[in-house]
Amino acid sequence: MPVMTLIQAINAALSGEMERNPAVVLLGEDIGNSGGVFRATEGLWERFGPERVMDTPLAEAGILGMAIGMALNGLRPVAEIQFADFIYPAFDQIVSELAKFRYRSAGQFPAPVVIRAPSGGGIGGGLYHSQSPEAYFVHTAGLTVVMPSTPADGKGLLVSAMRSPDPVIFLEPKALYRTAKGEVPEGEYDVPLGKAHTVREGTDVSVISYGAMVPVAEGAAAEAEKEGVSVEITDLRTLWPLDVEAVDRSVQKTGRAVVLHEAPRTCGFGAELATLVQERSFLHLKAPVARVTGFDTPFPYALEKIYLPDVRRTLDAVRGAVNF
């Protein structure tokens, strides 16, 4: 199996599916002859032409509105939002339209659009090139929200997203684009939506995470091991609809849970995870579910490293759970 970076795996998923399915079209800002600001679409414009790899004017509401119309009329559009931070001009199209089309038409008009958006911090992007907006979308009924943490999952989950009958918000941890490297199966390869992955087995504390925080969890688990604490890590992969069984299983085994994400804490996805855990596994819990998250502030430029959850803070939470 070839070794790829996450961004290469994304590119491979797109090109493979475009090859197989003529209904797949890509649209977004600078995705054409420039190949995308992160180069996710490198080479695709040359290969599939400007009608299927569309450089759009600067208007996310136009991109999403157009993508919805394409999906209604039989295409499988994959819209790139240059940074997840710039998804808000399209929020109305996503929340009012995309998420509700199937429901309001009683199933007559599904709108299977995939929205790819580089998400999260770690590249010195400050307020507007670092945000993690997943909670907005998890809260919106009708959407599937996905975030890979490895190149293989990047390819496999994106292929599944492009085949899903439902709209998918596909958040890509931009911090891992070039730092995550790994083997990626060649050819047609998919990873099912809605299935979490146990990254590491353990018996004392369950860390539940996704995206760029999975490596942080792994760092903390390695440290904890030195202190004799065995950490189990679940990489959710699909945030919603959640693989709730995987969460139940892990927490009911360890009796302790730490949820870890970089998005702001309050009303973040961690709140949902913590609530589900205490609702479903109350009698198993030996300690409150702990959250390790970004701060409830805009995302800062100079203090980025302090803003982002790190091994120190994760380890603190793990210790806190064990010593409660």
Binding site: V25, E51, R52, M54, T56, P57, A59, A61, G62, L64, G65, M66, A67, I68, G69, M70, A71, L72, N73, G74, L75, P77, P89, D92, Q93, S96, E97, K100, F101, R102, Y103, R104, S105, A106, G107, Q108, F109, P110, A141, G142, T144, P165, D166, G194, P241, L242, V244
Partner: protein, 357 residues
């Protein structure tokens, strides 16, 4: 320089041959029948709402000509993105009256399972896209649907309806701009009925017309008398034909007047005068077309009256058919959120009242 207002049916009852579409008598009668049906439906539905039998209604009284004329210009395969006020085009395209009425009741006779408020129809089989309440969201969608058709080499167009108020939204701008850039086969059909709820169009924009706005996007805008079903038919046909042949988008502004309230929740006396209403009543599109048909000898007075009566009866029959239907089953609350029901909605099904038993 103000854009000219295109009129086929002149005030004196004569036709401008340059702007009259080539129509047979039987076509004229289709237009007539549908305009009458639309008027009858509005009357009945408002009564149903006033007497508490349906919850809400949005009439299009006064706008029948633009609805029916533009609908008539469409061909099979074309895509329709209506707003909440465009049941006319649905009717014209053959959406069954009873299905339309069923939606008003939101009961088991509603093909959309009672999910939406009245006036939010759709029908996949005729490419009539699901209406949503947020104003103008459908505009960029119509660009995408048109693009998809073009990409596959189909000779079909997409028409999208919206109001004068809708032209102020960001969605209008991005849709017009994308349509211009990709030259999609999209016809933007603005029913300028002079008001967005209480706001007159003069305070909606400082532009002297909506049609002029097309300039900003590199394609043509036309102003047509929206109370003239023949001019509307012609102008829309031309725009659709151009679109299907690769000539790109057009913006049509149909200048008309909402004779009734914005919706059954609205009290228009708060923001407009009796005089203004009376002035526009003279241009009532249904009367105007009836008079033309009589003058042209297509129908006589008795026949016209009979046809109006038939329309009212047809509406009554549809109401009878739908009103008694049972309520929507509670389970449907959690269906169609996703293609397959996920675990959390299966769990939430337990909250439904029947689930206790």
């Amino acid at each position: 320089m103000e854009l000219p207002l295109l009129v086929a049916l002149r005030e004196d009852g004569s036709l401008d041959p340059a702007l009259a579409p080539a129509l047979q008598n039987e076509d004229l009668l289709v237009l007539f029948r549908n305009m009458l049906l639309l008027r009858a439906l509005d009357e009945k539905a408002i009564n149903l709402q006033r007497s508490g039998r349906i919850g809400f209604y949005v009439p299009c009284t006064g706008q029948e000509a633009m609805e029916i004329g533009s609908g008539f210009a469409l061909k099979e395969g074309d895509w329709i993105f209506p707003s909440y006020r465009d049941h006319g085009v649905a009717l014209l395209r053959g959406y069954p009256l009873a299905t339309l009425v069923g939606q008003l009741f939101g009961n088991a006779s509603d093909a959309m399972k009672g999910r939406q408020m009245p006036n939010h129809w759709c029908d996949r089989s005729i490419n009539l896209v699901s209406v949503s309440s947020p104003v103008a969201t459908q505009l960029p969608q119509a660009v995408g649907a048109a693009y998809a058709a073009k990409l596959r080499g189909e000779k079909v167009a997409a028409i999208v309806y919206f109001g004068d108020g809708g032209s102020s939204t960001g969605a209008f701008h991005v849709a017009m701009n994308f349509a211009g850039v990709y030259r999609t086969p999209t016809v933007f059909f603005c029913g300028n009925n002079q008001y967005a709820i209480s706001l007159p169009v003069s305070r909606q924009t400082a532009s002297d017309s909506i049609a002029r706005k097309a300039d900003a996007y590199g394609f043509e805008g036309v102003r047509v008398d929206g109370n003239d079903v023949l001019a509307v038919t012609k102008v829309t046909r031309d725009a659709l034909a151009r679109a299907r042949e690769g000539g790109g988008p057009t913006l049509i502004e149909a200048v008309t007047y909402r004779m009734g309230p914005h919706s059954t929740s609205d009290d228009p006396t708060r923001y407009r005068s009796e005089e203004e209403i009376a002035e526009w009543a003279k241009r009532d599109p249904v009367r105007r077309f009836t008079e033309y048909l009589q003058k042209a000898g297509v129908v006589d007075g008795v026949e016209a009256a009979n046809r109006a009566e038939e329309a009212r009866e047809e509406v009554l029959r549809a109401v009878k058919e739908c009103e008694g239907a049972p309520p929507v089953p509670p389970e449907s609350l959690v269906e169609d959120v996703y293609a397959e029901m996920p675990w959390h909605l299966i769990e939430q099904r337990k909250w439904l009242p029947h689930a206790e038993e």
